[in-house]
């Protein structure tokens, strides 16, 4: 396994973006924000506000023009994606279509698929944990959309890194399935205690598992705070505007519906 992988007992590491600036040509993005260790932070904001870019910067897929990315207090700005203590689940294309479930998960342990007995045990355990036992030999096309994302989560488990980045991974799933997946993420988080950065468009998702919220607007962090405050109408005005006018009513009605 590559260096810098946290052991299983290590709790999530704090993530800090220190004056990270980034430009897609015209509109510059500037991120200067802290993500608390071992918490689930929902990252929200309108389309084009830079949510995915923020995750890509943390993961190392994008190189910022200036600023630093610190994970667990260590500057990882110069590290390639595979050396960062980070796992990421994308909205799609999390799996190699020609490799089996088992192999796709196994790649989280060895990029050449040279697996030890211990690796195999970890893979089996992760598949069991994500409800995929018995589907080891299947190819991604033989799985449902939800199952594919479970495979991605199983790989997150075997990689066991202190930071998990979720880039709208459940956006294309139906509501019930999405809730199941969110619960799985919450359960995994409860066990492993990693730091989770979770990009979502759905306020219900953020409320269901999010402890903190970071709200982006126009390429900058417009507001941060506890999820409870954001969703009880005490949140910043920009967020209320994003959720929609009369958000307080809508939210409380929604909450009421869900609790029945």
């Amino acid at each position: 396994m590559p260096d810098g992988v946290a052991s299983r007992t290590e709790k999530g590491a704090p993530v800090r973006l220190d004056q990270v600036s980034f430009s897609y040509g015209e509109a510059p993005l500037v991120f200067d924000v802290d993500f608390a260790a071992a918490k689930i932070t929902a990252i929200m904001g309108p389309s084009g506000s830079g949510k995915s870019t923020l995750l890509n910067v943390v993961a190392g897929f994008e190189t910022p023009q200036s600023g630093r990315v610190l994970i667990g207090g260590v500057d990882v700005s110069a590290e390639p994606p595979s050396a960062r203590p980070v796992s990421m689940v994308f909205q799609e294309n999390n799996l190699f279509a020609h490799l089996s479930v088992e192999q796709n998960v196994g790649l989280g342990r060895s990029p050449s698929l040279l697996l030890t007995e211990a690796d195999r045990a970890a893979i089996a355990e992760a598949l069991e944990r994500t409800g995929l036992a018995g589907k080891e030999k299947r190819l991604p096309r033989e799985l449902s959309g939800g199952e594919r994302q479970r495979v991605a989560l199983a790989r997150v488990l075997v990689r066991d890194r202190p930071v998990l980045l979720l880039d709208e991974p459940f956006a294309s799933l139906g509501p019930a399935l999405r809730d199941d997946m969110l619960d799985l993420v919450a359960a995994v988080h409860a066990e492993r205690g990693m730091t989770v950065l979770f990009v979502t468009h759905q306020p219900e998702d953020a409320r269901r598992i999010g402890e903190h919220v970071v709200f982006l607007d126009n390429g900058v962090v417009a507001a941060t705070g506890k999820a409870d405050e954001f969703f009880t109408g005490a949140g910043p005005e920009v967020f209320q505007r994003y959720i929609g006018t009369g958000a307080g009513d809508a939210v409380s009605r929604d909450v009421a519906r869900k609790r029945t």
């Binding site: 897929f61 190699f96 990029p111």
Partner: protein
């Protein structure tokens, strides 16, 4: 901020591939410049009236060929597009793809077997003309051969263009009661006109760089082009200074045409997808149908004729004796080995360039492309500016100072043909690689799957088929090539096309016909394999 990640091995592979290509082309130019500087007055003296006549003929035959191919192709393509349910339409279109796969020398032989002095039609033509039929050597032969190759190509390209007309426009046309004439003027012609410069430019380009056709069907000094001139100057007159002049003129000519072509946005590699028959909402009246049927049948006969003649003449040869001849066996083996190596090299170089281009494009978030990325992107396209005979001529001139030019024949055949097939190989490999990369890039970066691991675990499964397509195509091109081997061939290194040319030269027409059948069938099989591999749905996808 400079990227501090370790260098991507894909970029390194691309740099090596580019260096190899640069060495091949650069070496040829070094040979030419060295020779030119060595004997400048000789090179200058080559500008004589004969040279001017050669240049004029090169342009004249190309212009005529283009006119005769593209004009009728417009009508045939339109006829085919008007009848989406024409009986055997798909089969006709597939037949129209065959000339693309046939080596030029095979087609030339087929045309001679049909319209030559002793061809199947000689008797008919003699009766019509009242006297003896002289055969179609010279300009007429060159034109027939060029039209044989380029009419079907143009038809397919125009048809592809017509296919892009949205179905809604046809629905609208039928609702408005448009007849054939207004439909042509308002719907079909604008589309065809947009495609016309590109198609005509491509055909013109193919015709000014045509070597084999002119060599085999052109008759003497009156019908010689620059490319054949280079060959004759080196192989027969041995006048290196003159060869330099001819070669530089040829490069200048092709460069101007390619430049014009890229301005027009033409697809220089020139292969097409098989257009599917769309639903049509247009009724075609009786007279027009009759006219269209006649057009299609005429075009079909013109294209099928030489192919049928090749098969008939080939079967008439003493195939058993040919197969027993040691020379034939040796040439077949040589051809197979050289073509195999050439295809392997071509595919490897293409893959390296594709990977490098992608890696560089991914690393460059925004801003301008670097020189390297430009080179990896379009560099391969520029080899089309330098015809194989030109590269061969350059190295021929350079190596004659060093030792035996003929000993280097295998290396030249393999490398030059490999590079010449690259534009086609790239078109098969690049879209597949870029699509796979689109899906897998971040995943590989995250999981640390790089280099050999990545090639075997991730890239190979999605590239297997496109690579096989590129390989088969490159192998067919290399197998049928006569350009480089014509310069470098000798009794000790003969390929099938070279042997075929030799048999034609010594009037052993039957042998030549037998060899042509063999060569044609092998190339056709390879191209069909390439097509099948390229279109068959990958079961893992």
């Amino acid at each position: 901020m400079p990227t501090r990640h370790p260098a991507d091995p894909r970029t390194t592979a691309g740099i090596i591939a580019l260096a190899a290509i640069a060495l091949l082309i650069g070496g040829a130019f070094a040979g030419l410049l060295f020779e030119g500087a060595h004997d400048f007055s000789g090179a200058w003296a080559a500008f004589d009236p004969y040279l001017l006549r050669v240049v004029r003929f090169t342009l004249w035959q190309a212009a005529l060929s283009t006119l005769l191919s593209v004009g009728p192709a417009l009508l045939v393509a339109r006829a085919l597009s008007r009848h989406p349910r024409f009986p055997g339409r798909t089969f006709i279109l597939q037949l129209f793809a065959v000339p693309l796969a046939l080596p030029a020398i095979v087609a030339a032989l087929g045309i001679l077997a049909l319209y030559g002095r002793a061809g199947y039609f000689a008797g008919v033509f003699a009766v019509i003309g009242g006297g003896s039929w002289p055969g179609i050597y010279g300009l007429s032969g060159i034109l027939v051969a060029h039209v044989f190759f380029n009419l079907p190509l143009s038809v397919r390209l125009f048809l592809e263009a017509l296919q892009t007309i949205p179905a809604d426009q046809w629905r609208l046309a039928s609702q408005l009661g448009m007849g054939a004439r207004p439909a042509f003027r308002l719907i079909e012609w604008p589309t065809l006109r947009a495609a016309l410069p590109g198609v005509a430019g491509l055909v013109f380009m193919l015709c000014i760089t045509s070597f084999t056709i002119v060599l085999t069907l052109g008759g003497g000094p009156a019908a010689t082009t620059l490319e054949v001139g280079i060959y004759q100057t080196l192989r027969f007159d041995f006048d290196p200074a003159r060869a330099v002049t001819l070669t530089l003129l040829q490069i200048a000519l092709t460069f101007v045409v390619v430049l014009a072509l890229t301005r027009l946005g033409a697809n220089v590699a020139g292969d097409t997808n098989l257009p599917v028959a769309p639903r049509r909402y247009l009724s075609v009246n009786g007279t027009e149908t009759l006219l269209n049927v006649v057009l299609i049948v005429l075009a079909l006969l013109f294209v099928v004729g030489p192919m049928a003649a090749t098969v008939m003449a080939g079967l008439g040869a003493d195939l058993g004796r040919l197969a027993g001849e040691a020379v034939v066996r040796q040439a077949t083996l040589t051809s197979a080995v050289l073509a195999f190596l050439s295809a392997l090299l071509s595919v490897t170089l293409s893959l390296a360039l594709t990977m490098a281009r992608r890696a560089l494009a991914l690393n460059r978030r925004s801003g301008a492309k670097t020189m390297l990325e430009h080179a990896a992107d379009t560099g391969a396209g520029f080899v089309l500016v330098v015809p194989p005979i030109v590269v061969g001529a350059g190295w021929f001139l350079l190596l004659r100072h060093v030792g035996d030019v003929f000993a280097i024949a295998p290396v030249m055949v393999v490398t030059v043909n490999a590079v010449m097939a690259m534009p086609f190989a790239l078109r098969a490999v690049r879209p597949a690689y870029d699509a796979a990369s689109e899906r897998h890039e971040r995943l590989c970066a995250q999981l640390g799957i790089t280099g050999w691991n990545r090639l075997m675990l991730v890239d190979w499964p999605s590239l297997r088929r496109p690579l096989a397509t590129a390989f088969a195509f490159a192998m067919a091109l290399s197998l049928g090539d006569l350009g480089v081997i014509a310069l470098f061939g000798s009794d000790s290194v003969q390929t099938l096309p070279y042997l075929l040319l030799a048999r034609m030269g010594s009037y052993r027409t039957q042998d030549a016909a037998g060899l042509a059948l063999l060569l044609g069938l092998v190339c056709l099989a390879l191209i069909m394999a390439a097509h099948w591999l390229g279109t068959e749905k990958d079961r893992d996808a």
